[in-house]
Amino acid sequence: MSSVAGLKEKQEKSWKEHRLITIFRDLVKNKLAAIGIVIIASIFIAAVFAPWLSSYGPYEQDLSGTKLAAGADGHILGTDNYGRDMWSRLVHGARLSLVVGLSSVAIGLIGGIGLGLLAGYYRKLDGLIMRVVDLLFAFPGILLAMLIIAMLGTSLINVIIAISIWSIPGCARIVRGSVLSIKQQEYILAMKTLGASDRRILLKHILPNCTAPLIVFATMRMATAILSTSALSYLGLGAQPPTPEWGAMIAAGQDFMWEAPHMAIIPGLGIMLTVFAFNVVGDGLRDALDPNMDMNV
């Protein structure tokens, strides 16, 4: 008996692996998505190995060599108004952006999945939860994040909290939609009749069916989270100087646009490339996972 179960498990595992390979193959067939994957991989590598990739520290000032142009004096991308190495600040900025992006999307997903499952499965909770979600949707764009920062104060941690909360309603809507369609299916009814607990049905049978739209949502959301973090820091509501955060770096660079335009140009290119990569990979994933996926959030 146990060997049969073992075989079944093995089969299931190889089927899953096969499915992953197919998805990946479909994904890289899309040229833009393939470029996006390469960019994301490079940014991850730059972020992880940031201290080893640069011979200067991101905070290391050299007042004898300020606002150097790219390539001067062993500084690949030049220096800023305090003589800090721009390349070092750029790769350390990648670190910050990815950490903030990943953590806020992860927290947002947990909250959104929880609320979405409850709303979709329990009709009694649906009305209440979805009204709260509607309410959160009433704050356009970055405004909800700003309101939360107005409440908590300006810091990078609060930016993570703000973007997490801002990610919840979109995620909850997607999960709820999937749950509503899945829970009508007969195998769920059969599970119920067999006496499976709600928790088991929700986590083991309904949630895995929401994975595809959630992966796409999370990828796209990374783009939004990174863009918003830099926007908030640019406005002075997120990371504060001298933190090497891309948005804060652009804000500082704008004052030196006449003498040292590279101070504002370089971090902006970093943001643009990263956001572009996550956007195209998200698009590609949507096509690879399910061309008819409804992502109207």
């Binding site: 356009p140 107005a150 652009i250």
Partner: protein, 312 residues
Amino acid sequence: MVGLIIRRFLQLLLLLFGISFLVFMSMHLAPGDPATIIGGPNATASDLEAIRENLGLNRPVVVQYFDYLAGVLQGDFGYSYQTNQAVTEAIITRFPATIKLATASMIVAIIIGIVAGMISARKQNSWIDVTSTTFALAGVSIPNFWLGAMLILIFSVNLQILPVGGLNSPFYTVEGMKELILPAITLGTASAALIARMTRSSMLEVIRSDYIRTARAKGVRKHSLIWIHALKNAMIPVITVIGINFGGLLGGTIITEQVFAINGVGRLMIDAIAARDFPIVQGTVLLVAGIFVVVNLVVDIIYALIDPRISY
């Protein structure tokens, strides 16, 4: 139709009520005592008590909320902690600049977006199509504050043909127009990109539908086929995108105002957040969210008017 409007209107009122409650509560739960912000560092305990008494801060929260709500309904949003100016007055003086910016950007976005999307769809897979779709993709990825800074760098610093910032002259003068160009492009680009993508895919879908083939078979001229028969149906999803985008645009105004040093509601809000001037934050957030939900309602109604198949 009338039923739809009434129902949506009631929902709108509930939503506005919810927004005001959420905003009020989040400002109320924020750490930091308003009395110490108003009183300054040298205020004594009795001074602080007097300020609290004066502003009614020692009453129960719910009472304070309904008091605030009653004020808001009469156009009274309270007074700034910093300057003691009426919030309503502060908003009214800043509002025209924001509206000017948002409207100009929306016009830029709609014109560029729809034209680019239509051309892309007509000449699918041509170099024009490839260029415009690539730009559309890049457009949503560019941080608008950076785009603004780059436009300033090119047109104001290097070419010196457009002003660096500010929105001081009336928009119908040449100076006013010049001041609006860069901010409107900065803010409108992301929306233009989304509108172009939507127009393209929607148009491609409609062009292949049966009724267009029938119309062509009947001998309708190509020009009117595209711009009248197809466009009307293709516009339905585009209008939704424009509506949804208006929210992003309002949020973006806040950032763009900062880039070009435009004295609008957005800058008022940012300064107030940094200074923890809660009445101003409350007033500006309420205003922006309020406009957003009202615009959404209008979009829904336009939607129903264009497409009679839709019922809510």
